[in-house]
């Protein structure tokens, strides 16, 4: 009889869950160090965060420990392209809208964001970017009065 080797064990999504939970709990406990716990009658700012973080770590362990012994379940494969492209285009939008105005920021967001999907056609994307930017400027800046400059100058 040959048991499955160590490498074939572990429910990876559950282990990731445990990592997230314990990580959040530990981070919370770390940040709550300077906060006063107080007493039950006069709870300080640190009371609830400590309780919650403690529970979070417990739940994390309860999810993670049994998952170690379960048969291997892999995490769905990660496609790095959409993650990176979308996140960068969002952050870029945030910076651009402050310093360069809405029009350039919106064009950036859509043109950069479109790179996340390799199937797009150039002409279509450009038209989409122009149309959405005009629409956004009309609805949000003129219509709803969002306080943002349209142009960098």
């Amino acid at each position: 009889m040959r048991g499955p080797s160590a490498a074939q064990r572990g429910d990876r999504p559950d282990l990731l869950t445990a990592l997230i939970f314990v990580g959040f709990g530990a981070l919370g406990l770390f940040l709550a160090r300077p906060l006063d716990g107080g007493t039950l009658a006069q709870m300080g700012p640190g009371f609830m965060p400590r309780v919650i973080c403690g529970l979070l770590i417990l739940v994390g362990l309860a999810v993670g420990l049994p998952a170690l012994r379960r048969p291997l379940v892999r995490i769905e494969p990660v496609k790095i392209r959409p993650v990176v492209v979308i996140l960068l285009s969002i952050v870029g939008f945030g910076l651009a809208v402050t310093y360069l105005g809405f029009v350039l920021a919106s064009l950036w967001l859509i043109l950069a964001g479109a790179m996340a999907d390799p199937g797009g056609k150039m002409r279509q994307t450009l038209l989409l970017a122009a149309g959405l930017t005009a629409f956004g400027a009309l609805i949000f800046v003129y219509g709803l009065g969002v306080q943002v400059p349209l142009w960098p100058f």
Binding site: T17, K79, P82, L87, F93, A116
Partner: protein
């Protein structure tokens, strides 16, 4: 004021051209995103939340509510015509609805779904109108101790009734509670868990989290698994159901409506749970359960009525107790909060036009939806051919403007992108982010009430078991926890959700 007077007040509020316009807009948007796979009502409402800030309170809430129940109508259209459920709540509708379409009965399936939904919406709206004032009188007796117990019960029950592993859901709630504590402590004024960042002193905005977790991470996940281009449509035939269809449908509609209304009330309940339960109940009660899945009218009528009834009755706990029962209601709560209104028993007496206007608009909205969906079905179906590649840049833009426009800060946009990444991690870890929102919204309330209770009793926790309402809630919580440990209950629960995963 009598019941009739209040209803008249509600209708006069809901019938103003502006409110009527936003009701129609909400219903249209709801149908639109219901039809489009890949955009759910949660993400849409998250995107539109910041916009409601620019509207009068009632108009904004009417629109958001319209999106939620409108999505229930729209979702069934695609489920029936292309076997592609637009929403999680119409997954079961696809089982029999698509088969009916294959048998050339697409028209009657759509009509049954729409008419059943309308009937269910009417009943649930009436339930809201009747239960609202009654429950809120009851809720006025609640002290802080009762609220603490109610919230603990609500949060725990929400994890058990929602799909997915309970422990993960509890963990997600705890993360939500923790995130809700970031910022200045209301009682002492100390900055908590802020990493020293001034931007976090006011806490994290609900919209940042909602758009990050639902808007951004949904786009990323959809792009990862892309391939929703080109769908084959079933041919649309005569729209009016036969008399035989009606005869088979109406008992199922009645049962679905009843079940949906009740399940919508429960914490964690809502449209999805209701439609799954209604379908399995219908199957169990049928004399020919083996025919389900081959195009049975009841298999469309029951879940469609149930999801619409539940979508509307889930407003009851929010509007009467101020406690949201699912993530959609957490969004609604923050839509109220944006305007400085705290939903709960006092709103009914101090601002009756809000409650009754919303109730009346729901009924009007349902009527509008029947019109929007049945004669205009052809237009919605055409939208299905729009590829996601053209849709997501628009969603991305709305999300970004929405987040930015709250405080005009780059910080919020970057933070939302961070939550987008976190949401992506949650997906990889197979964690459902809904409970997090619930925890985030209820966290500050829970802490404030817990502190108040223990301050009153000088730190003596026995008050929670001495007050009868509080004791009942806690006993119910303990029973729920006990049930979760029982292996037989766990098995039934897993079975109940198995169809959902399929």
């Amino acid at each position: 004021m009598s019941f009739i007077d209040l209803l008249i007040l509600g209708f006069s509020e809901a019938m103003t051209p502006m409110n009527l316009g936003f009701c129609l807009l909400g219903a249209l948007l709801g149908t639109l995103i219901g039809v489009l796979p890949g955009i759910g009502p949660t993400a849409t409402i998250a995107v539109l939340l910041p916009i409601t800030f620019f509207l009068p309170p009632l108009a904004g809430i009417i629109m958001l509510a319209g999106i939620y129940y409108g999505a229930q109508y729209g979702g069934s259209t695609t489920a029936i015509l292309v076997n592609l459920p637009g929403e999680a709540s119409s997954v079961v509708t696809a089982l029999d609805g698509y088969q009916m379409a294959q048998n050339g009965r697409a028209g009657s399936a759509l009509a049954i779904a729409a008419l059943g939904s309308f009937f269910a919406g009417t009943v649930a709206t009436l339930a809201l109108a009747v239960a609202g004032p009654t429950l809120s009188v009851f809720a006025l007796k609640f002290g802080p101790a009762e609220y603490v117990s109610l919230m603990v019960f609500g949060l725990l029950a929400a994890t058990i009734l929602a799909s997915g592993p309970v422990l993960k859901a509890i963990g997600m709630i705890l993360i939500g509670l923790l995130l809700g504590m970031i910022g200045t402590d209301r009682a002492t004024g100390d900055a908590r868990l802020t990493f020293g960042a001034i931007e976090l002193f006011d806490g994290i905005d609900f919209i940042v989290i909602a758009i990050g977790l639902f808007g951004f991470s949904e786009i990323i996940a959809n792009l990862e698994g892309s391939g929703s281009e080109g769908v084959k449509l079933a041919k649309l035939t005569r729209l009016w159901p036969t008399r035989q269809d009606f005869r088979e449908a109406w008992p199922a509609v009645l049962r679905g409506t009843g079940l949906g209304t009740v399940l919508g009330l429960l914490p964690g309940g809502g449209a999805t749970l209701a439609s799954f339960s209604a379908y399995s109940m219908e199957k169990r009660m049928s004399r020919h359960p083996e025919q389900f899945g081959t195009g049975v009218v009841a298999g469309v009528a029951a879940p469609e009525s149930a999801n619409n009834a539940a979508a509307q009755s889930s407003f009851i706990p929010l509007l009467t107790l101020g406690i949201p029962s699912n993530n959609m209601m957490a969004m609604m709560l923050s839509a109220f909060m944006i305007h400085g209104i705290t939903p709960g028993p006092t709103v009914l007496t101090s601002q009756p036009e809000i409650f009754w206007g919303l109730v009346a608009s729901m009924w009007i909205g349902n009527l509008l939806l029947v019109v929007i969906n049945l004669p205009l079905i052809g237009i919605w179906v055409k939208l299905l051919t729009v590829p996601y590649r053209l849709l997501y840049p628009a969603i991305l833009l709305f999300c970004c403007i929405g987040v930015y426009s709250m405080n005009n800060r780059v910080f919020d946009v970057v933070l939302a992108a961070g939550f987008g990444l976190l949401g992506y991690l949650f997906r990889k870890a197979k964690c459902e982010p809904g409970p997090l929102l619930l925890g985030f919204v209820l966290g500050p309330l829970l802490e404030a009430n817990l502190r108040r209770t223990l301050l009153i009793t000088q730190g003596d926790p026995s008050i929670f078991v001495e007050r009868p309402i509080s004791l009942t809630m806690l006993v119910a919580t303990v029973i729920l926890l006990g049930l979760m440990i029982l292996p037989s209950f766990r098995k039934t629960r897993e079975e109940a959700f198995q169809e959902e995963d399929a």
